[in-house]
Symmetry: C2
Subunit: 361 residues, 2 copies
């Protein structure tokens, strides 16, 4: 087995979710990630934990979704029961073909997500991590050979997360006590939002592996202005490009997209919370040095900012503040490397990607 797989498994088991004896661990992945699942299962066994592996493929999921009538969509009680009993949930992404679900009706996809929202809520309450195995389909999206993509993924994953934590804490210390954030990029993005009373989190690869971002939640009604998300994103198996949103009193009042606008429309129509922002994140991982059409990596890229429509994470919402609820959490990215700035309470804290606590600011 590739020693980088064993390192990856160690980061998952000992750093991200810290598996202990008597834990009930669920590992979900695609069969192509079998090596990593083997390595994780072995370490869980050594720690004395119980392991349930659920390999699944998009081909199976897509065949099911194509076949079921939207009227018959309902919560999977089996999945819910399973997640509720778990202490630890490890999700491993690995695709043979990232377009396998591309021909599912977006409305049906949204209905399935909405029906199964309790499953999502249940695992967010556990110790969980989402990570990536360098599969050929994801390498293809990244426009890399599988071998080059392996280096990219394991380079971003197998690193000194204590050092990352320390570097990122400098930004957390700025945002945590702040009231207002303004993000300006070119003449297409100028948005203001309040983060008053909402804690800022330091992502050093506990729930996302790789980690490498600092994030919080906007106060839902406070978002005002316009954003052009100039990096593409994948939603429901399809590429959505150049999403433009206009917010008034926190709600999307105007939208368009340069490609697959119907997917964006379906997402926005999922529920009331899908038209409001649930996350503001700032990518700080400069080891992720290229866009790979994979949000787990893309949102962590240095010199970017991302915002998510939909659900806010509980730990980013202050006790007296509203938590945006939704079946949706769709991240979208703005390139901040040129002609851009982040202002916090009127002070510029990042200019063209460079933070004020970094050289060259």
């Amino acid at each position: 087995m590739d020693p980088r797989v064993e390192d990856h498994a160690e980061v998952i088991v000992d750093h991200s979710v810290d598996v202990e004896s008597d834990d009930e661990v669920v590992i979900r992945g695609d069969p192509i990630s079998e090596d990593l699942v083997v390595a994780v299962a072995r370490l869980c066994g050594e720690r004395g934990a119980n392991v349930t592996t659920m390999l699944q493929t998009d081909r199976i999921g897509a065949a099911y979704k194509r076949a079921i009538d939207i009227e018959d969509v309902s919560l999977s009680e089996v999945s819910l029961a399973m997640v509720e009993k778990a202490d630890v949930y490890i999700g491993i992404r690995a695709d043979t073909n990232t377009h396998e679900s591309g021909d599912i009706n977006p409305e049906k996809n949204a209905a399935i997500a909405q029906a199964n929202e309790p499953v999502r809520e249940a695992y967010l309450d556990k110790r969980w991590v989402g990570t990536q195995y360098p599969a050929p389909g994801n390498a293809q999206d990244a426009e890399l050979s599988t071998e080059a993509y392996e280096s990219f993924v394991w380079g971003a994953v197998n690193k000194d997360w204590a050092a990352v934590r320390e570097h990122q804490q400098q930004l957390v210390d700025i945002l945590d006590p702040a009231e207002e954030v303004r993000i300006v990029s070119g003449d297409t993005t100028d948005i203001r939002l309040s983060i008053a009373g909402n804690p800022t989190q330091n992502d050093y690869a506990e729930r996302n592996l790789p980690g490498g971002e600092v994030f919080t939640a906007p106060v839902p009604d406070s978002v005002e202005g316009e954003v052009l998300f100039d990096k593409p994103l994948m939603a429901q198996g399809r590429e959505v490009r150049d999403v433009r949103l206009v917010f008034e009193d926190g709600e999307v009042t105007e939208y368009d997209a340069g490609k697959n606008e119907d997917v964006l429309a379906a997402v926005l129509d999922t529920d009331a919370g899908a038209r409001r922002l649930g996350e503001l994140g700032i990518g700080m991982n400069r080891d992720i040095d290229r866009f790979t059409y994979n949000m787990l990596f893309d949102e962590k890229m240095g010199d970017t900012v991302h915002m998510a429509l939909g659900r806010a994470y509980e730990d980013t919402v202050g006790e007296d503040n509203e938590q945006n609820e939704s079946a949706v959490h769709m991240d979208m990215i703005v390139d901040m490397s040129e002609d851009s700035r982040i202002e916090v309470d009127g002070e510029v804290i990042q200019r063209d990607g460079r933070f004020r606590f970094e050289e060259g600011f």
Copy 2:
């Protein structure tokens, strides 16, 4: 997709477990059986059922089992919760290498089986079926090319189960009211057991696909005599040959095996019920015309009888009779094609594999 896969999926979904709208269906299989899982998931979707797929590989399971300390073995609460919530459980066997678990300590294997006995009990209460996908590892055991093995498997699976049911019912009608069965083969097997009050079941591919046997449970304390199981069997990933058992008052009092006797010993030591018989079965499926080192098929072969150590199926035990309980259910086969007979209440009902209701008896 091979049309025989789609036929197989239809037999599973519409004949064996009869999936209906609102069913919670769990599909467990190896990734190599993906085509069949796709076809089954699609049909379940068309019927309006919920589907949870759990692909697993022996390589992952074996890595975990090798790593865990026997002291840390415990019930998987996640698996139990999942099975309890399911209405239908579809298990698909498919091996890349049938020896993948061959180096696990037999005692540890037995401890894991015992700890997870509640999971087994839970799914036996559901609508369940176990079936086979023609994978290369199983073809290798059968000493067939994968293509020839595909013909063997789908020939045995995709057939007229109503006709099978009718033919087998003739034997059920003999055994159901009977008291005592005696099985004699050569000078190595002469065993008597009571089936008084225990119902005889007609296996026409509801729980086992392929089906093709008639089976009941011996009254546990009634078994007396000696048996040589002259067909090999696979247990805990290892081949056990020439198992010889001597029964007194229903208990194994002497045993040996020609190969891997330690596996047999570990099975017998699992619990008290593992030393008693839980099943007597008579194979009647003449479309299964060769031994393939796979109990799902081997026990259904025409001209054979099999007996299982351990757990008795609930529906083969009469209300006033004892049901043998165990974490184990290990089938072992006797070749009845030569110098053999089955007597029921003193009358010969099968001679050298031929039944009294068949031509040539």
